[in-house]
């Protein structure tokens, strides 16, 4: 019980630090909204009956939001905390490592909710984004967000261990995320990408998250425009679960409190 209570306290502390760090608020929360405005304003074309590119793009950005707030944020911040000695100091206290990870998960989930809320709000206000119209779609949205966030969190923690220094973390992690966004059909329509690129992107969770989000926010008729001519919901769930399990094992095995 104490582990949970301290985990909750750490979550509160992480959120407080996050909100006080101007670069994290701007970079993690505002940047995707800014991108939404730029892309949404430039590409106003219709890509299928009743579907504009901006609607397509927002679905992808919501999926990206799960990667930004989880994977990207943790893979950059944890190496910095390791460099600063923050992690080493925590390791010397009775605080359970589980509490530490609960705190990180609370941070990711909070930042993710704010991010998704902002994207949806701006999407509805400026780009004619339609909210899901059935409880089934809302349910699908919920599990995509939870599975996506959770796997993004554990993969961020795992990836943090391969990064040598906190100072260089952003330079390694950000390009990976941006390239994945290009390959996974966030900035382009996925079906228009070369097939080798599609196959490569299919190895990673972001492709499945963007496709899943499209199934939530775009009309059902758009499924026929997908590469597989279907939303592939079952396969999406399976692949996300595989990544979640893999990420959890990697994170638990490889986490380092200091760089010695």
């Amino acid at each position: 019980m104490n582990i949970l209570r301290i985990g909750a306290l750490r979550g509160g502390l992480e959120i407080k630090q996050f909100m006080r760090r101007r670069e994290s608020v701007v970079f993690t929360l505002m940047f995707p909204v800014l991108l939404l405005f730029i892309f949404g304003s430039v590409f106003k074309n219709t890509i299928a009956p009743g579907v504009t590119f901006s609607q397509y793009f927002i679905s992808g950005m919501v999926a990206s939001g799960l990667v930004n707030t989880g994977f990207q944020q943790l893979a950059i911040n944890i190496p910095m905390e390791r460099d600063f000695g923050t992690l080493k100091r925590l390791r010397g206290t009775p605080m359970s490592p589980i509490s530490f990870f609960i705190g990180k998960a609370i941070l990711v989930f909070t930042a993710m909710l704010i991010q998704v809320f902002l994207l949806l709000l701006f999407g509805i206000l400026f780009f004619h984004l339609h909210m899901p119209h059935s409880p089934a779609l809302w349910l699908r949205f919920a599990w995509l967000v939870i599975l996506g966030s959770a796997s993004s969190t554990v993969l961020g923690i795992a990836f943090a261990t391969v990064i040598k220094s906190g100072r260089g973390a952003a330079a390694v992690v950000s390009p990976i995320v941006i390239i994945l966004q290009f390959l996974s059909g966030v900035f382009f329509v996925f079906s228009s990408l070369p097939s080798w690129m599609q196959k490569f992107a299919s190895l990673f969770p972001l492709k499945w998250l963007t496709q899943g989000m499209r199934s939530v926010f775009l009309p059902d008729s758009f499924a026929s425009q997908e590469v597989a001519h279907s939303w592939e919901i079952g396969r999406t769930a399976l692949i996300l679960v595989v990544w979640l399990v893999l990420g959890t094992i990697l994170a638990a095995r490889s986490f380092k409190w200091s760089d010695q």
Partner: protein, 283 residues
């Protein structure tokens, strides 16, 4: 058991380079024990093994009767009883002093009152300042605050007063004496010989991963037996004499001056003199 720490035959090397080469030491409960030695002597490696941060190659280690490398399910309860002030930390510092200390106090089952700790380390005026706005010495005091907030039975201090001005160091020494009077065992590494002399009940000098000597600051290297230097002024010039029996020599001098000896001083080697000689001899 009145040993807080017991180490036998401790060895550790990194990539074939020997850092600790067979160290034996015992720290008694309630004692302030200082480890002195040049950079790279193996001080931090030894202390970090005791703190549970590093695994050893061989030897026996018991800290509060437990092996820091094999704590198992007692990891949390063991850490609840120790306090660690690491050599250098520089947290991102987006929290205030008060928030940080209050938060850390929740980790322990028997914490000190966080507000008392803030006062104790002299950060009252900075309590609402963000950590990144603190000076180096103030940050160090925060490190100490986080090390003691859990009411540890053993406190590890790795070069705690680096970056302190002389006044802050005096205040810090007072704090350490207060902790000792409450029964805290303290293991201190330091570069400052005056600090070791001021605080430590016993000191260990280590170099090249080995202990050269363990003694009280007053008797280290036979300091109490060493000859004294007497200096005085005679015929408008400073005179000096190395003396094995300064009391006798001063009585004799006093007779030649018919009483008062002008500008008399009697000195024995400082701890620093002894230390430098020991390190020099061990090269």
């Amino acid at each position: 058991m009145n040993h807080a720490i017991k180490v036998r035959g401790l060895k550790k090397s990194y990539d074939g380079k020997i850092a600790v080469n067979g160290i034996d030491l015992e720290v008694l409960k309630g004692e302030i024990f200082a480890i002195l030695g040049p950079n790279g002597a193996g001080k931090t490696t030894t202390v970090e093994i005791l703190e549970g941060y590093r695994d050893r190659d061989s030897g026996d280690v018991a800290v509060l009767e437990l092996d820091p490398e094999h704590l198992g399910s007692q990891s949390s309860s063991w850490r609840n009883r120790i306090g660690i002030v690491l050599q250098s930390t520089s947290d991102a510092g987006d929290l205030s002093v008060s928030e940080t200390i209050h938060h850390f106090s929740h980790y322990y089952t028997n914490p000190k009152n966080p507000d008392d700790v803030i006062t104790l380390v002299g950060l009252d005026e900075k309590r609402d300042d963000r950590v990144h706005n603190l000076s180096g010495g103030q940050r160090r005091r925060l490190d100490v605050a986080l090390g003691i907030v859990g009411s540890p039975e053993i406190l590890f201090l790795d070069e705690p007063t680096t970056g302190f001005d002389p006044e802050a160091r005096r205040a810090f020494w007072g704090l350490i004496r207060t902790l000792k009077s409450e029964g805290t065992t303290i293991l201190l590494t330091t570069h400052y010989l005056d600090e070791a002399e001021e605080l430590a009940d016993r000191v260990a000098v280590i170099n090249h991963g080995k202990i050269i000597e363990i003694a009280t600051p007053a008797t280290l290297g036979g300091r109490h037996l060493s000859k004294a230097t007497i200096t005085w002024k005679e015929n408008e010039r400073m005179q000096s004499k190395i003396s094995a029996n300064p009391t006798f020599d001063i009585q004799e001098l006093s007779k030649t001056f018919n009483g008062d000896i002008p500008e008399l001083t009697v000195t024995r080697p400082t701890l620093e003199d002894i230390y430098i000689t020991m390190i020099g001899a061990s090269k």
